[in-house]
Each structure stands twice: as structure tokens, then as C-alpha cells.
């Protein structure tokens, strides 16, 4: 069903109506405006002059990342912040619309969750089965304990083939492994082939989102990056021009590459198949043009059989982008005639996470990004503000498993509103795990200083019910009468850029006392 094109009507359900664009640049075919893949459901444009792109969190060795510091700089760039907020909220709304067309949607989510929980609790058996079947089909299977081992294995395969250049599709796992930096250090040329990921590579920046890596950038930012690196006209930020320039620049690199690399979205144990989903067809170019194909795969990607794959493929793109399917969903079961195929199965902390009672279900994640699109903190601060491979709600619960100290402040970048949990296609209790991580941080004395003093006061209050009730009653009054500067002071990070809700005239406790007698 095509949505309305009229910007005036679209503006009604936009977060930032001033972004509604009068003219439309997206594809129109057979008289219908298209919004499949990550296309917006109505035309939007930044509403005023270009501004410099805000950059991500400051990363200094093992120092604690301050997400809120970077978020403040993102919010201080209103063009970027509004476009980011609007685009991701639009993806969330698209997701809701396609979801309503599938009567069995909630059943699919329950199935997906149950299939993943079954597989993870039998992970050793299924990995073993996949390996045996893949080997039978002629795939070389390697195992890597961590990112460094993964990078060495891939390097060795490339050396064996005398390969000096590698085209690859987007993979969060290779981001985890620091793959591009490692390859640069050993003189292998790596070319990302997803447009968004290529933009990020050329700008020497990490992807800011698991599905739309350059969603935090505006066309003017891309025009600058391409002018510097691809020689395009710096004054031309027409999106069709930029995309076409990139296609033309990347194509010779694809044709000349010595090897190709992909990740995998799913792995089917029964058939020894791995599955790769993209919208651009770039994974299929990477896999099918060079003779050598290497796939890097996290050990948690496995599912038992093809019938289970149907459940996940139906959920993935609908949850991610509100599009019924990725343009390309490709199933690799063995090498091409005359080709060679390698799979590297990577642990990198996953087996350890499996043993964490409160957090093991985060391994169910299929990297759709729905939790990021719906998160009010993520939408208004940009993925790079998290200073970690994974951003948004899923990042808050995965990143600390890699480095508890460095990412100790991240679990506090949430309002705990639970929207992430509600949209998660595999039913990870994300907001509960965020709360659980806060507890872990407190137990390990990793609380940021401001949280610590606020918590101490809250703890004293919550320990004494009478004091708590008195405080709540006066706080509600205070919310209504206190001058703005008291609520929006520097110690209250969440008051910044946010309006406080209207306080109820009566506390629940007072209402209960008046209406139901003494409790």
C-alpha cells in the first residue's frame, strides 16, 4: 500500500514537520512512490543551511566512554539530530505497518525466540553438525577464539592465494575484530562494498548503526567525503549523483579484487548453509566475482534447519526497515565450480557470554537494529556517541561483556522505557538486562561519579518508606512549582533537552488513603 506522498499530510505524523520536503527524490515506478529497503516513507530534507558533522565519542585507551558528552555534541547540531531522529522513527513506523499485515507476527516472534534459545542451549551439537555438513560440501572451516586469531586466519588464507586486495560486504563481526585496521597493517587493501559502509570507510569512521551505517550523516557530509576521496564535485550533494559516482568508482575494484568476504546473518546446521542478506547485492558480488570467498561468522548465528530459517527471514527486514524482505537473501552451501570457500567461526567472547545467567539471551540477537530505531536516546544522540562496536539498546548490554570498565557508563544511557524489548523480533528482555547491568556496575564500583552521589541519596530515601512518601509528595509539588533552573541543572543529565512530565495532582498513596481507607 503506498503511503501518501503529500508532504503536508506526512508532516502530521512527523516528529519534525519542518523536514517535510516539497519535492521527492526517491524512485517512482509505474506511478507509485517506493519506500522499500531503507527508503523513507515520505520525502524529507534538512530545513536549513549545512552544518559540520558532529563526531562520535572521545576514545582514549581503556578510559570510560562518556556517551552523554558525545550526545550533547550531536544534539548541538540540530540538522543532524533532527534528520537522524526523523529517519529512524520513520523506520520504526514502517516496521509497525508491515507487522500489522502479518497476523501471525507475535507467534513468529515467540517461535524465533524459542528456536534461538533451543539452539543456544545445544550450541556445541549444532556447531559440530554445521561443520561436518559444510566440510562434506567442500567448505574449509576454521575456528577463531578471538578477533586477533580471526584476522590471522584470514590473512593466512589470503597469503596462500597471493591475494593483495579484498572486497567485502558489511559485517559487524569484522568491526568487532578490528579487521580493516589489521589488514591495513599487513598491506592488504580492503574495499567495503555497501554504500553506507563505504562512506564510513572513506571517512575513516566506524558504522553508527548495524543496518544503516551512515544514517548519522547528511548528504552534504557525504559530498565532502566523496569530493576528497573519489574526486566528485564538492558542491554537488545530489543523492543520485553521489550514489552513482560511488557505483562507478567501486565497480573496477570489484572486478580486480583477488578475494571476497562476507559475514552471515544465519547459519543452517542441517544443510551446512550460511545465509547473507543485503539490499544492494554487494555481498553477492563479493562472493561471486573473485575466485576466493571467505565468510566470517559468529558462533551464535546458527539455527537447526531450513524450516526455522523461514521464521527469521520473515522477521529480519520487517523489523529492521519495515520492508518485507531484503532485496537479496543468498544461501551459500559450497564453493562455485573452480572457486574456493572458507568459513571462519568466531567466538570472541560469545562462549563466555553464554555462561552469564542474566545476559546469555543477548546472544539471540539477529542484528536488525529495531531496538536502535525505537530508542529515544539513540535517535537523538547518534550511534557513534556510544564509542563501541554496538550502539543503542543492544549495545548497552553487549558492549560491557567486551570491556566492563570502558563501557561501564553505557547502561545508564537509557530511560528504561522498554520500547526496545517490545520491538525485538527475538524477544530479548533488553531493558531488564540494561537495569541488571547497572547493578553489576554498582557491585563492581564502576558507577560514574554523578550517578554515585544521586544513588546514595536515593538509596537512603528508598530505605525508609515514610521518608520516601513525604519526598514523593513534595517532589510532585516541586515539579509543578520549582523554577526551571532547579530541574534543568547540570547534575541532572536527563533534564537537558527534555521537558518534564506533568506531575499528578495527588500521589497514588494519597489517593489510596482517601479512597480505600488506611492501607
Amino acid at each position: 500500500m503506498s503511503d501518501t506522498h503529500a508532504p503536508v499530510q506526512a508532516a502530521g505524523r512527523m516528529l519534525h514537520p519542518e523536514l517535510a520536503a516539497a519535492s521527492d527524490e526517491s524512485e517512482v515506478k509505474n506511478g507509485r512512490r517506493l519506500d522499500h529497503a531503507e527508503g523513507t516513507s515520505h520525502p524529507i530534507r534538512p530545513s536549513s543551511a549545512p552544518e559540520p558533522q558532529p563526531r562520535g565519542a572521545r576514545i582514549r585507551g581503556n578510559h570510560r566512554i562518556s556517551q552523554s558528552e558525545a550526545a550533547n555534541r550531536f544534539i548541538a547540531a540540530p540538522q543532524h539530530e533532527k534528520m537522524h531522529d526523523e529517519r529512524l522513527w520513520d523506520l520504526r513506523q514502517k516496521r509497525d505497518r508491515v507487522m500489522h499485515r502479518i497476523p501471525e507476527w507475535e507467534e513468529l516472534r515467540s517461535l524465533a525466540s524459542a528456536i534461538k534459545e533451543h539452539t543456544l542451549t545445544h550450541l556445541d551439537e549444532y556447531l559440530d553438525r554445521f561443520e561436518a555438513n559444510a566440510r562434506t560440501n567442500g567448505i574449509h572451516v576454521h575456528w577463531a577464539r578471538d578477533g586477533a586469531e580471526h584476522n590471522r586466519i584470514v590473512h593466512d588464507i589470503l597469503l596462500d592465494h597471493g591475494a593483495a586486495s579484498l572486497i567485502k560486504s558489511k559485517s559487524m563481526l569484522t568491526e568487532e575484530c578490528g579487521f580493516r585496521d589489521y589488514m591495513a597493517s599487513v598491506g592488504i587493501k580492503v574495499i567495503e562494498t555497501d554504500l553506507g559502509e563505504r562512506i564510513q570507510q572513506l571517512d575513516n569512521e566506524d558504522p553508527s548503526h548495524v543496518v544503516v551505517p551512515a544514517v548519522h550523516k547528511l548528504r552534504t557530509d557525504v559530498a565532502q567525503v566523496f569530493a576528497k576521496t573519489l574526486g566528485t564535485d564538492a558542491g554537488n550533494s545530489n543523492v543520485h549523483y553521489l550514489a552513482e559516482a560511488q557505483r562507478e568508482a567501486t565497480r573496477p575494484l570489484i572486478l580486480e579484487a583477488d578475494a571476497g568476504m562476507t559475514g552471515a546473518n544465519f547459519v543452517v546446521a542441517e544443510t551446512g548453509t550460511f545465509v547473507v542478506c543485503t539490499n544492494e547485492g554487494n555481498a553477492d558480488l563479493s562472493a561471486n566475482v573473485p575466485k576466493l570467498h571467505i565468510a566470517s561468522i559468529g558462533i551464535e548465528k546458527i539455527i537447526p534447519r531450513l524450516e526455522h530459517l523461514a521464521v527469521f527471514v520473515r522477521l529480519l527486514s520487517r523489523s529492521a526497515l519495515g520492508s518485507p524482505m531484503t532485496q537479496y537473501t543468498s544461501h551459500f552451501r559450497g564453493p562455485r565450480a573452480g572457486g574456493e570457500m572458507h568459513v571462519v567461526l568466531v567466538d570472541n567472547g560469545r562462549s563466555k557470554r553464554l555462561g552469564m545467567e542474566e545476559f546469555w539471551t543477548s546472544l539471540k540477537c539477529i542484528r536488525c537494529g529495531a531496538c536502535m530505531n525505537t530508542c529515544p536516546v539513540y535517535r537523538r544522540s547518534g550511534g557513534l556517541s556510544y564509542g563501541a562496536t554496538y550502539s543503542g539498546p543492544i549495545g548497552l548490554i553487549i558492549d560491557p561483556t567486551f570491556n566492563r570498565h570502558k563501557y561501564s557508563a553505557l547502561p545508564f544511557s537509557s530511560t528504561l522505557n522498554g520500547s526496545c524489548t517490545n520491538v525485538c523480533p527475538v524477544k530479548i528482555n533488553i531493558h531488564e538486562q540494561i537495569a541488571a547491568w547497572r547493578k553489576v556496575m554498582a557491585e563492581h564500583h564502576e558507577l560514574p561519579l554523578i550517578k554515585k552521589s544521586a544513588m546514595k541519596a536515593a538509596g537512603a530515601l528508598l530505605a525508609r518508606p515514610t521518608l520516601y512518601r513525604a519526598a514523593i509528595a513534595s517532589a510532585d509539588v516541586a515539579l509543578n512549582v520549582l523554577p526551571h533552573f532547579v530541574i534543568y541543572n547540570r547534575l541532572n543529565a536527563w533534564g537537558k533537552h527534555r521537558e518534564v512530565p506533568h506531575a499528578p495532582r495527588q500521589t497514588f498513596h494519597a489517593w489510596y488513603r482517601n479512597n480505600r481507607g488506611t492501607p
Binding site: E27, H36, W143, R145, Y328, K352
Partner: protein, 211 residues
């Protein structure tokens, strides 16, 4: 200990001790559309694909030939359409770099999503589906399944080494959400309803299993 053994023993040591049975997956086909072809066509168009509507009594191949006449390099992996770049002369995928239009046959299609399934057997050279500027796919209207649950029961996923769903053409909206076709792969995908030839099954043996 090898990396493999070390990872597997770490996994075993950390397996949650919980009883999590594998659920049974229904086919979810109670409300399958009456006309699979009409549903497929609608889904395909919404994903940016084209469908060639052939008026009754007209030869769909004639319409394809008209379109091919304007192209410089045509490579066909089908017996119905003849191109000017025979697959037999393609030695490496890079030989397909200048193909304007590729012609392939879809093994089957999915009404729910508007996807067609292409296999290594049907493609001849896998890269034909991606290096061509435009792709035309022949589809037997009898080969449409209602949804992905039915699709994954098909034999294609256990036969060859490569099977892929194409759901419209290559697409991106990575810059400001502006939707563009032809990000890296084909700029357009046109599906044409053409019944399968009788000898189809023998001709599409996957190359990886040919002797």
C-alpha cells in the same frame, strides 16, 4: 588444544542448564491469497521490481526480444532467449562486466514477498545476476508458492551450492533515506511469465554437481 576444541569445550562448560525444546513451525498458509500470481506481482512491484503484463494470446518472448534489440550485450542462461554473449564463452565472472541485460529463469517465486529464487544451476555463472546492468527473469506462473515457509520446503536449498532470493533490483537509501535502484548490482529486475520448457529439470543441474 586446538581453537576448535577450546571453543567447543568453553561452549559446553557454559551451556545454560535449561530445558528449551525446539518448537514446531506451522506453514501459516490459512489465509494464502486466491491468486498467487496477482499477489506475487503486487509484492514485486512494491519492492521496486517490474512485471511484464502479457496480453492473452500474445507471445511474452516477443516482448522480451523487442527490449533486447536495444541492448548491446545480452547474456542469456535460458533456452528460450538467445543473447550475443554465450555463457559457454564466459571463462571467468569478470567476462560479464559489460553485459547490459542478463536473462535467467527463476526456479520458483514467493507471493508473500515478491521474491524469485535463482540457483547456480539456472544462472550458469552466478555473477550474471549481479554484474549485468539489468536482469530479466522468466517465471512459470505455476511455480509460485504462497510464503517463505513453503519456499524453504523446496529442494533447491539442498541441491546446488548457491540459491538466492531476488526481491526487486539492487537498492540503497543509505544517503538521507533517498531510495535509489542500482546501488551495486542490477538497476532493474523484470519478471516475465513464461511457462517452463519440458526439458528444464535436466538443464539446470547445478554446476557443482555436474560430472
Amino acid at each position: 588444544m586446538s581453537a576448535r576444541d577450546e571453543i567447543l569445550s568453553a561452549v559446553r562448560a557454559n551451556l545454560p542448564k535449561l530445558d528449551k525444546p525446539l518448537p514446531w513451525v506451522p506453514m501459516f498458509d490459512d489465509s494464502a491469497p486466491v491468486s498467487l500470481l496477482a499477489a506475487f506481482r503486487e509484492s514485486l512491484l512494491a519492492m521496486g521490481g517490474d512485471f511484464l503484463d502479457v496480453p492473452p494470446g500474445e507471445d511474452p518472448l516477443q516482448a522480451i526480444r523487442q527490449r533486447l534489440a536495444k541492448a548491446k550485450v545480452v547474456c542469456s542462461a535460458t533456452s528460450e532467449v538467445t543473447g550475443n554473449r554465450p555463457l559457454s564463452r564466459v571463462r571467468v565472472p569478470q567476462d560479464l562486466a559489460d553485459v547490459d541485460i542478463g536473462v535467467v529463469r527463476a526456479a520458483f517465486a514467493v507471493a508473500e514477498t515478491g521474491s524469485i529464487c535463482l540457483t547456480d544451476g539456472g544462472l550458469g555463472v552466478n555473477a550474471l545476476g549481479y554484474l549485468s546492468q539489468h536482469l530479466i527473469a522468466l517465471l512459470d506462473p505455476a511455480d509460485i508458492v504462497p510464503n517463505l515457509h513453503h519456499a524453504y520446503k523446496r529442494p533447491e536449498f539442498e541441491q546446488g551450492h548457491y540459491a538466492t532470493f531476488h526481491t526487486g533490483p539492487s537498492a540503497t537509501a543509505d544517503i538521507e533515506g533517498v531510495l535509489i535502484h542500482g546501488a551495486q548490482g542490477v538497476r532493474s529486475l523484470t519478471v516475465v511469465p513464461v511457462p517452463r520448457p519440458a526439458d528444464y529439470a535436466q538443464r539446470v543441474q547445478p554446476p557443482s554437481t555436474r560430472t
